[in-house]
């Protein structure tokens, strides 16, 4: 069972995240005190640490993160903070967090990001080609084939597909796509991502018996050959 340490002083928020993670099959420990948290984060082995920034006694969660990184621990850390300004975010990433999410957030967004972060810590580099059902994607030649038929994609569409592929079987949110495919760190008002997905879908899934790109209502999208009902729930 994967183990997660939540360092958060607000009980309501901590319980919300803990319950959600338990439902996803995580074993969760919550630590509300910053000083205890440093000890637990360093002494025990975790698969994930979720860290709040403003802790009691004016302790910045980032100092825990820095301690951890200075000891050479590569444990994935997701920072949750009400400090949303760009420089705060940059400070968090510089301190060594794997993702920085601002409060308030939907649990689905956090879950998607956690999956991305936890998988990223087990990199599978050197992959040239990926296959999903009857789709074959050549990552070097940047070509796509479905059921033996070649599909022409624009460069940006290919990047979108590649990102979905890299996270196949997992939900990716619209914000994640905006950040990684367009390098946008803000939300455009219009649902631009939805339109791009539907365009990509029309090229990939058209005439196919099994659709590969699925909409996860209220959360985002997932690329998967087959979908279980659990994954579709919010």
């Amino acid at each position: 069972m994967r183990r997660c340490l939540i360092i958060e002083d607000d009980i309501e928020n901590a319980q919300y995240v803990a319950n959600g993670l338990r439902e996803l099959g995580w074993s969760v420990a919550v630590c509300r005190d910053g000083v205890d948290a440093i000890g637990r984060a360093v002494e025990e082995a975790w698969d994930l640490i979720i860290l709040d920034r403003m802790l009691p006694n004016d302790l910045d969660g980032l100092s825990i993160l820095r301690t951890l990184r200075s000891l050479g621990r590569k444990t994935p850390v997701v920072v949750l903070s009400a400090l949303a300004a760009t420089d705060e975010r940059v400070r968090g990433l510089k301190a060594g967090c794997d993702d920085y999410l601002t409060k308030p957030f939907a649990f689905s967004e956090l879950a998607a990001r956690i999956e991305a972060v936890v998988r990223r810590s087990q990199p599978d580099e050197g992959v040239r080609e990926m296959r999903v059902a009857d789709m074959r994607v050549d990552l070097i030649a940047r070509s796509v084939e479905r059921a033996g038929r070649s599909i022409a994609l624009q460069p940006r569409e290919f990047r979108l597909l590649a990102y979905l592929l890299a996270h196949q079987g997992r939900v990716v949110t619209r914000t994640m796509l905006l950040e990684s495919v367009w390098d946008y760190r803000f939300d455009p008002q219009t649902n631009v991502i939805d339109v791009h997905i539907s365009r990509l879908r029309s090229k990939i899934d058209k005439d196919a018996t099994v659709p590969l790109i699925h909409t996860v209502r209220g959360v985002g999208y997932m690329l998967s050959p087959a979908l279980t009902t659990r994954e579709l729930t919010e």
């Binding site: 308030p104 940006r156 390098d183 946008y184 455009p188 008002q189 219009t190 339109v195």
Partner: protein, 456 residues
């Protein structure tokens, strides 16, 4: 007393005036001292040289004609009526009796001296201060030549008195001047301080009264008033902003509460609650977006992000945004075209500029009906780079254009949005030292983001 002094001393006007007064007193003293030495000293030296000359003449006379003749000559000199008030001539024989002259003979004046010196004598029966030259003649008699200094001493006394009273008057004037100066300065500064105190108490409408004199204080008062006008304007702006923010945040909050209370008290609670919760979630998510956007505008307006400016290509930003919006435009049946000039880069924040450009394109797409065209162009125009988004939608009426940049101002409430897009674009433009210009495209709108070019 020391308290009063300390209070006076703490006044810069008093200190300045006093220092100035002290300088005047010092200058006066030096001036009068020089004058004194020049007059009294010179006169004394002249008297001495006259005495020497006369002595020499009489000694020569004695050598030529003998002392009886000299006695007669002295009597003649004393009787000629010239300088009779001041002249001193006396010839004393070797045996000590007076041959001729106007001094009462005493032993101390018949002792020959080398130099001319001052003595208290009886001249023509009256006590007198005289400078005397005492010379022993060849036959043993003594010649005394001198000058009564009484008048000179009177003059000396007069000059000293003048110096003393002059210095005293100057000193008194300096102190009095310092007090007057202080009071005047205090009065002028007092009006400014009074206004400042009223403003501190919260009456921001107060202004410093400007005196008729066009002096430094009038200019200072005008500067202060201009500053107060600016602060007043800013405060009004802040009040307006916080009012609209309060309105735009409280309204959805009360909507949410109303819906939740209603559902809680409804008879068909089980059915009403899920719907109310869904409504609440949607509203709160919206609120969160509004809050986030407001904070971002505030962050931009604070200017903090200027620290991380770097060279940014406006064309790259435009291409990125075009590739983001082409799908939306296509889906809405719009034509999205572009002409990108080989414009130079601008110094700025890439994320913010991307945000601004995306906002402008987003707006254009939102307000342009099906079949319309949105055109994005970049151009270098002299020292600035311009990114233009032109649409052929309904545009913005002239009279509304000035207001569209205000937070929460929305042209059409039927179109989804928060009324923060253009406000944020304007803030971003200002941060970069540029501006957002809106013009009529007849029909449609031209939004021009003008930014200073780097390396121009």
């Amino acid at each position: 007393m020391t308290g009063v002094l300390a209070r006076w001393w703490s006044s810069i006007a008093f200190r300045q005036a006093l220092i100035f007064g002290a300088l005047v007193v010092f200058t006066m003293t030096v001036l009068l001292a020089v004058f004194y030495v020049q007059t009294v000293g010179v006169w004394q030296r002249r008297v001495d040289s006259q005495i020497e000359t006369t002595t020499q003449r009489l000694v020569d006379y004695d050598r030529r004609s003998g002392s009886p003749a000299l006695g007669a000559h002295i009597n003649a000199l004393l009787g000629d009526g010239i300088d009779s008030d001041t002249e001193v001539y006396t010839l004393v024989a070797a045996d000590g009796h007076l041959v001729a002259g106007n001094l009462a003979v005493t032993p101390d004046i018949t002792t020959p001296t080398r130099s001319i010196s001052e003595h208290s004598v009886l001249r023509a029966g009256r006590a007198s201060q005289s400078r005397l030259s005492v010379t022993a003649l060849s036959d043993g008699s003594t010649l005394i030549v001198g000058r009564d200094m009484q008048d000179l001493h009177e003059l000396e006394k007069l000059i000293r008195g003048a110096i003393a009273s002059g210095a005293l008057v100057t000193l008194v004037m300096a102190v009095a001047g310092a007090l007057v100066f202080r009071r005047q300065l205090e009065r002028r500064i007092g009006t400014i301080r009074e206004t400042a105190a009223q403003i501190e108490r919260g009456d921001l409408a107060q202004r410093v009264p400007i005196s008729a004199q066009q002096d430094e204080f009038a200019r200072l008062s005008r500067d202060i008033n201009a500053m107060l006008d600016r602060i007043h304007g800013l405060m009004e702006g802040v009040r307006h902003v916080s009012n609209t923010i309060a309105h735009n945040i409280r309204t959805p909050l009360s909507r949410v509460l109303a819906r939740l209370y209603t559902a809680q008290n409804a008879s068909n609670r089980a059915e009403a609650l899920p719907e109310a919760v869904g409504f609440a979630i949607a509203e709160i998510q919206d609120l969160n977006i509004v809050f986030d956007k407001l904070l971002r505008i505030a962050e931009v307006e604070s200017g903090a992000r200027r620290q991380t400016f770097s060279a940014v290509s406006l064309n790259e930003i435009a291409i990125n945004a075009l590739e983001l919006y082409d799908a939306v435009a296509e889906a809405k049946g719009l034509t999205l075209t572009h002409t990108l000039d080989a414009g130079p880069s601008v110094s700025g924040d890439g994320d913010l500029l991307a945000n601004a450009v995306a906002n402008l394109i987003d707006n254009a797409i939102k307000y342009t009906p099906n079949g319309g065209t949105v055109h994005v162009g970049t151009r270098r125009e002299g020292p600035s780079v311009t990114l233009t988004v032109r649409d052929n939608g309904r545009g913005i009426p002239e009279e509304e254009r000035a207001r569209v940049g205000t937070r929460f101002y929305r042209l059409d409430r039927a179109v989804p949005g928060w009324g923060l897009g253009l406000a944020s674009v304007m803030a971003i433009a200002r941060l970069h030292g540029g501006s957002l210009q809106l013009a009529d495209a007849g029909p449609g709108l031209i939004a021009r983001l003008v930014l200073p070019a780097t390396g121009a």
